[in-house]
Symmetry: C2
């Protein structure tokens, strides 16, 4: 399948996801060497999981299938521009390329908070909608000391 056909397939999955009542109108594919190796569709409401966005699920499914925690050599096709959570997940997963179809503006017009959250995250903590603050603790660095002292650690 070419890029246009892959995006078409993702869009069909997103439409089907709405019909099934599983969640929002979003889907994503993970593709390697032209082959779809995993898919994800939004399951926030049916799964009681605010992190169950299409890209997150597709990344998790692909990594599970490949038996590794990154997606080098893979492409992601998402029906919409990734929200900040999913964009962060993409940077952790390190696919070789990401394609998306609809824009954040389209997503906002459909009633989702992606745009608002993106704006929130550019603000300093004290101006974000959710109060986020540092609680200094004398032991805050203990986990990192344990990590540095661990000789058989797996880096990611």
């Amino acid at each position: 399948m070419d890029k246009n056909q892959l995006m078409q397939r993702a869009i069909q999955l997103a439409v089907k996801n709405v019909g099934s009542g599983r969640g929002g109108p979003f889907a994503a594919l993970v593709v390697r060497d032209g082959e779809v190796i995993a898919a994800g569709t939004n399951a926030v409401t049916s799964g009681n999981d605010p992190t169950a966005h299409a890209e997150i699920i597709a990344i998790r499914n692909a990594c599970s299938k490949l038996g590794r925690f990154e997606l080098s050599g893979c492409e992601i096709y998402s029906t919409s521009e990734p929200c900040p959570m999913c964009l962060g997940a993409i940077h952790w997963a390190r696919p070789s390329h990401v394609y998306f179809a609809a824009l954040t503006e389209d997503v906002a017009q459909a009633g989702f908070n992606d745009k608002s959250i993106r704006e929130q995250m550019t603000l300093p903590y004290e101006r974000q909608r959710i109060p986020i603050e540092r609680l200094p603790h004398g032991d805050a660095l203990l986990p990192f000391k344990a990590w540095q002292g661990k000789t058989d650690k797996i880096l990611y």
Copy 2:
């Protein structure tokens, strides 16, 4: 438990997580009315899941326990400043407050990419490390049309 004790408990979980070899030196708690209702520790490497950060797992566990897809009325205690993926997840989950102990600078010094990813995400797509681009498609808005036409949809 007071705030300091709750953070202490999260830090202990993070130290334990390193010892167990489950993943990175991070833990998070979800607290409601002073009671810990869920916890999460990093499981990226053991779970082959780049999204398995402490906050993401804690949010998923708490929502699963509460049977809903948001965390209003709950607080999150994280051993470290949330990475952009986790900050995005926090905005979707809508807890009433978030506390963190170690700073992104500390996390970076321990060898993790949070700071670098945060910087990447402030850049326009064409300058980010991972190529992210729009692939326009004539059917891009079909999922939203299906969504708008669905009368029994659950908003989130």
